[in-house]
């Protein structure tokens, strides 16, 4: 690729690309990031081969894209220009797609998405409820373009915001435009990006740093991963505009090493941008010098905290330090530094694409624009969604997410990972923005939403998150290092049936202490899962402590697996699969579990055929006595008369 001399050269490259694009040409877009885990590579290979075999090599493009969002249906492919979505593909599904759709223009019905309620097939992507409720702005290219080809991004209007900024705006104009847009940081803290940039701009010194935080450590969150994998240039463009506005000369993109595809695609984007002269010295002859390097994290949740992240980039243990001084005064190597989250950076080009006023038209008073959420847990449509800030949780979970599968009842949604809280059903109609979620004890956070149903124990959930933060606590400050440990001990005791009166009060006191006195955000927010579950599900805690009962049937020490003799069909399946050999019985002899041997592993429950439904979980009451041997001989209805 030839280096672009100036903004005009970039413009004419874009015009050329647009002129040479054939919008009517068939194109199969196949997700090659998240869907890889679902076998997308084999489908792609089969597709390439079959297209050649049927002589369509010149007439069909096969484009490997980033995440298309509908992860629950992986692997997913969309045939353009019609926009037909095929899902859960395997290589053997490829020949009919090529012959019937690409050759014949028809639809392969069995591969299209069925509406879960009516069962009716919905062939077009745009008609599927999961997509209909969304507003894809930041993700506008994700799943559409080939993220490893910068020209795809440019053809879709990419780098035109940079062009506008460099060609016609002063750095001060840029900052005031970002401030006017109301854009807030998407990483969790929700600080106004324009204000942050202003701090860096006004900090004294020539050497300034801009860091993009891609250390997405919340379990159950994959927004930044999708952006880095599916549209890395939008993140780079946001960083470049930030560099121009703030006067930063060097950039770092810090990405979790657990995201190999994100690292790979970002590095490819960076190499291509450098070749085109969009990163480096005197970018587009504007006088802007900005170099970006990629830093891979090494596995520490606390590195998502900005001062810890700075220490990690410096090659040290990623431990936070007190603020002030804020990074904008003294950050990386003691120089003024801004840290922007991946999604924030990807929002920046949008502000300039249509102007701040247009950008601020979406959202609420407290939060402008859209937000990306990752949906996971007990929900039909696990995946990645982008919605206007201010939409209700109910709309996201039930309309877009399709609700809770298996006819189970919704219990809570955990927002914002280990730093966030559990929101119960009564608050589902709240708008999702920065203020209203905080009011109920949760945060918008980075955007992870994990749905829990009636089979989820909330005490166990609190224990789970606290176990995570306790391990990830860096150990620097006492409240977090020791407080989380003591809280974990109490929670463990409760789930093991050893809880005592006063535990709830002690836990609350400790949680509030850790919240109010920890050094960094990790410590201050880690009691949130405990505090919100205590607030909304106190009865579950009390059941564990007073009745030694786990109402959801999860906490192993408080449950017993039991085979209902009325329902057992003596099919031997559980007996053969029990890893501990705890099940007794035989052919035509009703099975029972020896409670002295059983480890409550749940294998019998998962293998018992649903039509028998004989294995039960009992909690808070004694297991009924085992029937004597002579009463356990199975008399099969109807068979004896034959």
């Amino acid at each position: 690729m030839e280096k672009l001399r100036n903004t005009e050269a970039l413009q004419s490259l874009r015009n050329e690309l647009l002129a040479s694009t054939d919008r009517d040409k068939s194109c199969v877009r196949i997700c090659m990031t998240g869907c890889r885990a679902g076998g997308a590579e084999k489908v792609r290979d089969a597709l390439r081969e079959e297209v050649e075999k049927q002589g369509l090599g010149d007439e069909v493009d096969i484009r490997e894209t980033g995440c298309q969002g509908f992860c629950a249906q992986a692997p997913v492919a969309v045939v353009d220009p019609q926009g037909i979505l095929y899902r859960q593909l395997t290589p053997k599904d490829v020949p009919p797609i090529v012959s019937e759709t690409l050759q014949g223009g028809g639809i392969v019905d069995r591969l299209t998405y069925p509406d879960p309620q009516s069962g009716q097939k919905i062939p077009y992507e745009r008609d599927i409820p999961f997509y209909k409720g969304q507003q894809k702005e930041v993700l506008r290219n994700c799943g559409i373009i080939d993220p490893t080809n910068i020209l795809d991004y440019i053809a879709r209007g990419g780098y035109s915001s940079l062009e506008k900024v460099l060609g016609s705006m002063t750095p001060e104009d840029v900052i005031s435009e970002v401030s006017k847009s109301g854009l807030k940081g998407r990483g969790g803290a929700g600080f106004l990006t324009g204000t942050k940039w202003g701090f860096l701009r006004n900090a004294p010194g020539d050497e300034k740093y801009l860091v993009c935080n891609g250390d997405e450590g919340d379990p159950g969150a994959f927004m930044d991963r999708a952006l880095l994998e599916g549209d890395p240039n939008s993140v780079l463009e946001g960083m470049l505009i930030g560099a121009y506005a703030t006067g930063a000369t060097t950039g770092y993109a810090y990405v979790r090493a657990e995201y190999p595809i994100a690292v790979e695609n970002l590095k490819i984007a960076l190499t291509q941008a450098r070749e085109l002269g969009l990163v480096g010295r005197d970018i587009l002859e504007s006088g802007l010098d900005f170099e970006i390097s990629v830093k891979e994290g090494a596995g520490a949740f606390v590195c998502g905290e900005e001062t810890a992240l700075i220490a990690s980039i410096e090659g040290k243990r990623g431990m936070p330090r007190p603020r002030p001084p804020f990074p904008a005064q003294s950050g990386l190597w003691g120089k003024p530094t801004n840290i922007n989250n991946v999604e924030t950076s990807a929002n920046v080009p949008l502000v300039f694409l249509n102007g701040a006023d247009q950008y601020a038209r979406v959202g609420t008073e407290q939060g402008k624009g859209t937000k990306i959420f990752s949906l996971a847990g007990k929900i039909h449509n696990t995946g990645l969604v982008e919605v206007p800030i201010g939409i209700t949780m109910r709309e996201v979970i039930f309309d877009i997410g399709g609700g809770v599968p298996g006819g189970k009842k919704f219990k809570a949604v955990q927002m914002g990972g280990p730093s966030g809280g559990c929101v119960p059903e009564q608050h589902l109609s709240l708008p999702m923005d920065y203020g209203s979620l905080e009011a109920v004890g949760a945060i918008m956070g980075s955007g992870g939403m994990v749905v829990m149903d009636e089979d989820t124990c909330m005490v166990d959930t609190a224990l789970y998150f606290l176990a995570f933060t306790q391990v990830e606590s860096c150990g620097k400050c006492v409240p977090c290092r020791i407080g989380t440990k003591r809280m974990l001990e109490i929670l463990t005791r409760i789930t093991e049936g050893e809880g005592k009166e006063g535990d709830i009060e002690l836990l609350t006191e400790l949680a509030e202490g850790v919240r109010d006195t920890s050094l960094c955000g990790l410590g201050q927010l880690c009691p949130s899962p405990v505090l919100t579950t205590l607030k909304y599900f106190r009865d579950e805690y009390e059941a564990h402590i007073r009745n030694h009962e786990c109402p959801a049937g999860v906490c192993k020490a408080l449950i017993r697996h039991y085979i209902d003799p009325e329902k057992c069909q003596a099919c031997l399946i559980c007996l053969r699969n029990c890893p501990g050999g705890a099940i007794e019985g035989g052919k035509n002899i009703i099975h029972f579990i020896d409670q002295d041997i059983c480890t409550q592993c749940g294998t019998c429950l998962s293998v018992c055929p649903p039509r028998f439904d004989a294995v039960k979980v009992i909690s808070g009451e004694p297991v009924p006595p085992t029937r004597p041997a002579e009463e356990r001989v199975l008399v099969r209805a109807g068979r004896s008369s034959r």
Binding site: R36, A37, C71, G217, E258, G299, M319, Y464, E472
Partner: protein, 160 residues
């Protein structure tokens, strides 16, 4: 491979990062890429060459989950303990793996065939509960499926 030969693999890494003040983590990542863990002798040499105190190298190596100070198994089983997997009962998957290999999380089998570790989140929540064996994802697991998958990676025992 002799001891000197083994240590010589460090040379290109040292050369690449000469004089870079921020390269310690990157160097450790590259060392682990070559040796599959961080051998003590290599770290001692790294300390001598870079003048970074061994205590500081050790403090960094033990801080980050990615680094190992002991040899690893030929196969690595990573069990996802993310929130989505947790609510889909990932503890049953962990139990099945531990039971099959007779080691606990964080351990390596004596024959160096398997290492088992828990990871906070693999980011493939739609496959929950999920685990990775080496570079392959295995999703929507139950205990039985897990056992079969782990066993399929085991090398057959040689006939005596």
């Amino acid at each position: 491979m002799s001891r000197d030969e083994a240590l010589s693999l460090l040379e290109p890494i040292l050369e690449r990062h000469q004089g870079q003040q921020d390269a310690l983590i990157t160097m450790l990542q590259e060392i682990q890429e070559v040796y599959a863990y961080l051998p003590e002798e290599v770290l001692a040499r790294l300390s001598r060459e870079t003048k970074i105190p061994l205590s500081r190298i050790y403090s960094v190596a033990t801080f980050y989950a990615q680094f190992y100070l002991t040899p690893r198994g030929r196969n690595t089983v990573r069990i996802c303990r993310g929130t989505a997997c947790h609510v889909q009962r990932s503890e049953l998957i962990a139990a099945a793996v531990e039971d099959t290999l007779d080691i606990a999380e964080g351990e390596t089998t004596e024959d160096l065939q398997f290492s088992v570790e828990a990871v906070a989140c693999l980011g493939t929540c739609f496959l929950a509960p999920v685990m990775m064996v080496n570079d392959s994802y295995h999703g929507k697991l139950d205990a039985q499926k897990t056992r079969a998958i782990v066993e399929s990676y085991a090398q057959p025992k040689k006939e005596p």
